[in-house]
């Protein structure tokens, strides 16, 4: 089950329907659109070798830097492709219609994507995730250069087995390959010791690496068909928000609890009420009473799935994280109508 979930996540892909921006078309007729399957956990510029030959003959003279836009919004290449899709395509559109550019790079909005920038963006995110989980980056720093390169190749190829093999070889070992033994009769302690780390007890992560992308829409969440597209990155709030894992035994943190910590105002009733009532009760009870009383006013997407908010966060982190170990939560929520002062409507 767990193995399957991870394999599905790694195989996830989005069909792209690309057309060249009209200002860059110098051939007649214009080149036909190009269709390609983009890995969810990949990054758009990595597709350049597949895309460029198709449009090459139509391009004006000059040097190339590939970038993409969706309905006029330049796409951040450092955000995994699947996250961009979940966030920006409120009503999932397949294939996803994107415009590809090879000129006029919008350097004011997008980081330059030169040489090894994409690879290092990944390695640095992986390091950051490890710091969040274990309080150090030993696993990554102890990796040899060639192993790092190989790991990166596994990520680019979507090779989960190769990735897990490398991750298990590193000291301290990482990856969730060892952890999946749990469901298959291996003693859990073996799996646990594989990622044992002196900083945290029992090798359990102290915090869960999470990034949240928040987008407000001005209409009913049940009808997102003709929602206004995101026209600027200023309209999206996105932050890295590590979630503390409770140290007490028997406490299970759910996805709902995590959302409650980061965006409490998106729940329909205030979480403080139930906290007051059950402040003496164990936190398990408190968490469950919150679950009963508070409704989340938004859509949460992880890896293209709208998960139940009662899933244990730990499960989400192990199975739905990207190869850099971050859980990317895309949240679409409605604008809460501001209470207008009397007479303001006129």
């Amino acid at each position: 089950m767990t193995v399957q979930a991870r394999r599905h996540v790694w195989m996830g892909a989005i069909p792209l329907h690309l057309h060249l921006h009209s200002s860059e078309v110098t051939s007649l007729p214009a080149p036909p659109p190009f269709l390609i399957l983009a890995p969810r956990n990949g990054y758009l510029p990595l597709l350049v070798d597949a895309i460029r030959p198709h449009f090459n003959s139509a391009l004006p003279p000059g040097s190339d830097t590939i970038w993409f836009d969706y309905q006029g919004l330049p796409l951040k290449w450092n955000i995994p492709t699947g996250v961009l899709f979940d966030l920006l395509c409120a009503e999932p559109e397949r294939p996803w219609n994107l415009t590809v550019h090879f000129r006029s790079y919008p350097a004011g909005v997008l980081s330059l994507c030169e040489d090894e920038a994409v690879k290092w963006n990944f390695i640095n995110a992986l390091k950051e995730a490890f710091y969040v989980m274990y309080g150090n980056t030993k696993s990554i720093m102890n990796m040899s250069q060639s192993d790092q390169v190989e790991l990166w190749h596994c990520v680019m190829k979507g090779d989960l087995e190769g990735y897990d093999r490398l991750a298990a070889r590193v000291k301290p070992a990482f990856g969730f390959g060892a952890n999946v033994g749990r469901g298959f009769g291996h003693p859990p302690s073996v799996a646990e010791t594989a990622i044992t780390n002196p900083v945290t007890r029992a090798g359990k992560p102290g915090r869960i690496p999470m990034r949240m992308y928040l987008r407000m829409v001005d209409q009913d969440l049940n009808d997102l068909f003709d929602v206004r597209p995101v026209s600027s990155w200023d309209d999206v709030v996105y932050v890295t928000c590590p979630i503390d894992v409770p140290k007490r035994q028997g406490t299970t943190l759910t996805l709902r609890d995590a959302l409650m910590k980061v965006v409490p105002h998106l729940f329909s009733s205030s979480p403080t009420i139930s906290n007051e009532v059950t402040s003496e009760a164990p936190s398990v009870m408190r968490a469950s009473s919150n679950a009963v009383h508070n409704e989340f006013n938004g859509i949460v997407r992880v890896q293209g799935i709208e998960p139940s908010l009662d899933l244990p966060l730990d499960w989400v982190a192990r199975n739905l994280c990207g190869p850099e170990h971050f859980v990317h939560l895309s949240v679409i929520c409605t604008l809460v109508a501001p209470s207008l002062p009397p007479g303001a409507a006129d």
Partner: protein, 283 residues
């Protein structure tokens, strides 16, 4: 393990330390460009996220004369045999041939993952054209330049500004907490119980870029100025039986110094000087 401080701080401590820096800076060196605290205003109608720090430190309009060695030589040659040379370039180096003026902004932002402050910078020419990585790198002190080239992707890189969501340059924060835990450890008490630990502090000082260029890093007597709170933190780790309110009070006092102390080596790394007067005791 418990009791040994890991060199990190919380978002609330970050804000307190930032406000402390703003205050000290204003009172000790009013003639210099001021650090200011900017409250993050989320985009129109968007909710604020509950957990993150709500502001950051800003220092802007810092003018740097950038030495343009190669360009300057070429221009000199042109000047001899060609009157009609690039006027724009000339205007950029008023009075100082071989130099051009770059204008920088520096932001100090709390990093939720590493739980440390992080310095972001952005520069532009006088005409507003943004500086690229190689320009920024060229403006760094020599030792930082060297590290930048050796560690192209792990030292100074283009990163997205966490609030503005635009590409800025940033120093990687992954080493900050370990340096801070060493800097804040009391050198004296460490020397008494563990001489090897003391050596590590020495090593860190040698390693810190540019500490020789500006007298920034607390010299031994400056450290002694800040000694009382430093002693307290070792007291915190060795005598947990002291009242928790007492501990909390001293932790707060100590953490207020965090950003100032950290800037004392982070700023020189990016070529920014910090006047030693900000380290004078304020009372």
């Amino acid at each position: 393990m418990a009791g040994i401080w890991d060199g990190t701080l919380t978002a609330a401590e970050f804000e307190a330390a930032a406000l402390h820096l703003v205050e000290v800076w204003k009172s000790q060196c009013p003639q210099l460009p001021a650090w200011t605290w900017h409250v993050y205003e989320p985009p129109l109608k968007s909710p604020v996220l509950a957990s993150s720090a709500v502001g950051y430190l800003v220092l802007q309009d810092v003018h740097i004369l950038s030495e343009q060695k190669v360009v300057a030589e070429v221009e000199d040659i042109h000047e001899v045999d060609d009157e009609s040379q690039d006027i724009a370039t000339l205007e950029m180096s008023p009075g100082l041939p071989g130099y051009e003026e770059h204008v920088y902004s520096y932001h100090v932002i709390y990093n939720e993952s590493y739980r440390v402050p992080m310095i972001f910078l952005q520069g532009h020419f006088l005409d507003g054209t943004p500086l690229q990585w190689h320009h920024v790198c060229h403006d760094l002190p020599l030792d930082s330049q060297q590290i930048s080239h050796e560690s192209r992707w792990t030292f100074l890189t283009q990163e997205e500004h966490p609030f503005l969501h635009r590409p800025w340059f940033a120093l990687h924060p992954c080493g900050t907490s370990s340096i801070m835990s060493l800097v804040f450890a009391s050198p004296l008490s460490n020397a008494a119980k563990d001489s090897s630990n003391d050596n590590r502090i020495q090593d860190t000082r040698n390693f810190l870029p540019s500490s020789d260029q500006v007298n920034i890093l607390p010299s031994p007597n400056q450290v002694s100025v800040l000694q009382p709170p430093y002693n307290e933190i070792s007291a915190l780790s060795s005598k947990p039986q002291k009242s928790s309110r007492y501990q909390e009070k001293h932790r707060i006092d100590l953490m207020k110094q965090y950003i100032l102390t950290w800037l004392s080596f982070a700023c020189p790394t990016v070529g920014l000087t910090i006047p030693s007067c900000v380290f004078k005791p304020t009372n």
